[in-house]
Symmetry: D2
Subunit: 350 residues, 4 copies
């Protein structure tokens, strides 16, 4: 940590800061320049996090040198984390596609979707049972009934499932039915929820908040990791900017950035990020080219009658085309992509 002080500060005031650092058990390097005095504190400065140095006379800036997260950092763990969900491995050689509707609406919808996306190569079925909606008057999901349908559809189609948990009091219920618990963007800093999920023994898909920095995403992951649950999948889903043609701005630079800073797998949700189905396929391909470990894609048998977010949802034919177009990109970046035989056959015909 570096503490920058004005060079006109009284010696007594400089001394007070130094004394505080000594009290907390730290050695201090002092460099006096013409315009600034710099105090360098080396080593493990975690116990200084809550000392309000800005309140001392003459202090102009406090600069952290070491990252504030540990368990999530690549320095802590040099090789990439892989997470096994049933027979699927997230973060390994294979690119994993998670697909399904925004919301579980009824048995027919989720069962048919499950079979179709499985046939096209998806490995994990997504679908919301509890939906965070900006307006209290929007449809908020089927609740436990939705969870049951999702779990059954996944089982029948041979797919693992992922669904959102919105609150601590839903954890037990959701965990009973799902293979991966998703934390939505609006809950990325719901720290009570994160801590409880850290005590679970199931993978967590943690979505980046709309206005969260990459560092804050990793600190939220750290909340889960620090409680003992090491299976966290990061997910970039668009950040909020001034641009309003797209719903959010998909920050694909976060992929190589997170790969450098952390060992956790990272997947991309191009559906929520763009809010426009025409942009989903190009951005899905771009995500893989940038190095993402997987995709989370909204697919609906009949977007026109979907109960939520139809504007960004792919129809099956568009999703099928995307899955074919992904393959050469995946190969180009040296990753793997397993597609079921039916799909292979169809591919050869095309």
């Amino acid at each position: 940590m570096i503490i920058v002080m004005n060079s006109k500060t009284d010696d007594a005031d400089v001394e007070k800061v130094i004394q505080k650092l000594h009290e907390m058990g730290h050695k201090v390097h002092i460099s006096k320049g013409e315009r600034r005095i710099i105090l360098g504190v080396i080593g493990d400065v975690e116990n200084l996090a809550s000392v309000p140095f800005y309140a001392f006379n003459g202090v102009e800036d406090i600069i952290r040198i070491v990252k504030p997260y540990k368990l999530a950092s690549r320095e802590f763990k040099d090789f990439s984390t892989t997470i096994k969900v049933k027979d699927v491995i997230v973060g390994g050689e294979e690119v994993v596609v998670m697909a399904g509707p925004c919301v579980v609406e009824n048995e027919k919808q989720i069962f048919e979707t499950a079979h179709q996306v499985k046939a096209l190569g998806a490995k994990i079925l997504r679908g919301g049972a509890f939906k965070p909606r900006t307006s209290p008057y929007s449809f908020q999901g089927l609740g436990e009934e939705g969870l049951k349908l999702l779990a059954q559809a996944g089982k029948e189609a041979g797919l693992a499932v992922v669904t959102e948990v919105m609150s601590v009091n839903q954890i037990d219920l959701v965990a009973k039915y799902t293979d991966i618990l998703q934390v939505g963007a609006r809950n990325m800093q719901n720290f009570v929820l994160l801590k409880e999920l850290g005590k679970l023994k199931k993978p967590i898909l943690l979505k980046r908040g709309m206005s969260a920095t990459i560092e804050e995403l990793l600190l939220s992951a750290e909340y889960i990791l620090s409680q003992g649950n090491y299976e966290v999948i990061l997910c970039e889903r668009g950040i909020r900017t001034f641009e309003n043609y797209t719903r959010n701005t998909l920050d694909l630079s976060a992929v190589p950035a997170l790969k450098g800073l952390s060992h956790l797998p990272i997947i991309i949700d191009p559906s929520h990020a763009t809010g426009r189905w025409r942009l989903v396929s190009p951005m899905a391909k771009a995500a893989i080219a940038a190095g993402a470990d997987g995709l989370l894609i909204e697919v609906h048998l009949e977007p026109k009658s979907s109960l939520s977010d139809g504007a960004q949802t792919l129809r099956l034919d568009t999703f099928s085309r995307l899955m074919k177009e992904l393959r050469p990109i995946i190969q180009a970046v040296g990753r793997e992509f397993s597609t079921p035989v039916e799909c292979e056959l169809e591919r050869m015909k095309n």
Copy 2:
């Protein structure tokens, strides 16, 4: 609601949209221009919120004309809401100052602060017992012990109290000790929490999320109102922008904007917004000049030893000066400000 379609759309595709609108019980006005076809839907279109019109061929844009919130809108209620907290009225003629430390640290700290801010004219005591912290390694508050101390300090000093509730499973506990329950910026879209708070019979102080629009803030208020709790105090505390000299950018335009759109009272938190104590007083004065109903200000007896957010905390002498400087501004905008006799006396001396 307006649906904009491309003028080259097939008649059959236009007809499909019109048919859907008819099915949902709506009349449609059709205007065909050279470049666009416009379908106008008049009246109560709430049942259309979940119809994904973007998924229909030819649809280019969907424009809502009526605001998506109702109970929070000035159209629903023409006069301003006042909220009585003990003997204090928020949203009335008087400007209300809520002051206290970021976190309740110990008995001495909170009791002394309570007496001092009371003497200087604050009406409500603030102090965190459960603190949302970006890092899992930061001090997170004293929990119930903090709540007890806060309640006792408020009682002894004759101040109502406000403190944050972070999760549904804390509501009962927090409500037992506090007069106002605060929802933090990071929980503004924790919809499960909002709904449960809507069933309470205590005022809620709802902070705007760092990346929430004014409309989203009002929709979150609507979640609480729609459950029957009409006592919501809105709080602007800075939004996230590219500027990094200040921690966040205090959006004071939100004050007159919210006053025009809603009947709910609005207060300003200049401490969290700026993150720098030197900016707190100027922005507190600006907030009142812009029409805010009150202020939420961090005050600490000894910022240098505070366990949280010392950089933005006012010392008692600075807070005292601010309270004096506020008075003429408050008078200038035609509001009232009751200050206790001791303070008046001191004021006359100065």
Copy 3:
């Protein structure tokens, strides 16, 4: 300057950085911690600005300690700059209101406006002759004819005038007619223009760019100052954020921030910032309460027929009310406000 290196860096690589610093004539303080190596360079490091230290092996971060601007900084000049424009002083005790239409439209409009705003207490007449418009199809101003009318109207009413210059090839022409040259937000980083304006002997009103940080605003001022023109008036006019209820987000925290960092006067343009005339008066009052030295306000005799930006323009009656409401705020912050006799009389009647 601080250079942060990974503690696993080879000694040879650390040595290369140190050697480079020595070559450039600097002493280096080295602190080796468990996780980071820190190289501190003290003194005048301007010659290091263009050395790409990030390209050296092991370098993780480069942290500037001293601000990159000099002449604009409060450290360079301890007392506040005042700028005399005809008989008006900007940056002194008095709050200065600059008012007038967005665009000079015709003789009648600008002459009547000049007399009216003068009568109500404005000191400087604003009006555009060259208008930067987002669309090439919008009205772009009267050019030299507009400059002439503005200058004559100002002269007749006894007001100094301010108008925008958009390009180096307009400087001579604009300078011939105006007392202050305005650089618009879109040109804040038009460095060729800034340099040329630095050679002029007339005050420059420099508007903050929509996405410019406070530091970048001061660096743009530095461009002008470094050429020898020390009369720069800073102007905050809203920054671009995700909020879309207002056209931009007025960053009033910039007022106390700039007052702390720089000696230059700062004025606020609440008209362009909010884009809604109902928000102009509250934000004008807030600006003064925050410590601004003046205001730039759009006033039109008949906003409904204005050729530009009518939505944010005050009518004369609204402007008159604002001028009255400003007085007690100005007094509350200890500043002065000179209003002509007519206005005083009218004020007494009210």
Copy 4:
């Protein structure tokens, strides 16, 4: 265009708006709902752009339906524009890589770079002679000497060249030496410059401003097109957001968005966007996967001694690896990529 009025507006006030529309030569469709009155104006409403409808009583919102740009829109021109620069075609089947240093520093540097990037498959040589720098104290380029060196290096290596023009008074000089004139992000709304460039008969590379929307980028292109120069290449180079790990946030969604809205070619600058060389290659690959027509990449023989932006500059070996990795991505999206024989040979060896 749609004008939304409050349903409580007096009939006389509604009538005034309608009358104004009639005066301007437009037919009006009126729909009265319970909460809003909607006036629909069909057809070519360009003459309404400057009518300040917000200034009329009762007007709540004004909604444009037709895009404000014409010549840049895909509706105006259905097939994609291709731009021939010497023997290179931008916007055609082939992906075009423009590479070179940020700044032309000396003869050796630019000549060697030109030959090397040519050998590796770049088609256009980039290099700055006039550099817009945030600080007046940074190196600002060699001026005409730089232009000459760039032109000679391009000629000798058989590469077209692109360089930035910062001001109207530089146009003639820059146009004399370069094949493509670049407008930098800070000048995207320098409308005087855009208009003059519209009179030129050379291609313009127009960079998106840091806080410009996609619509504003197209409006700036419209400035150039409307003067008769139809050869505009759009360039996304990162927008300003709250994220500060990367210098800017590369908005790759702009690629498919612009492809849908406009017929103009679009290229990506991953160097300036990310500001970190480790992120350049992943984002370059992602850009191509998203559908970009080309790349603008900073390459330096020796980044450690570069005079500008070394942090984001690729060394030749990294650039060489990127060019190889791009090929399969380019093929995967069905585009072409011509690489010279030397490179092919080297590729086979690897």
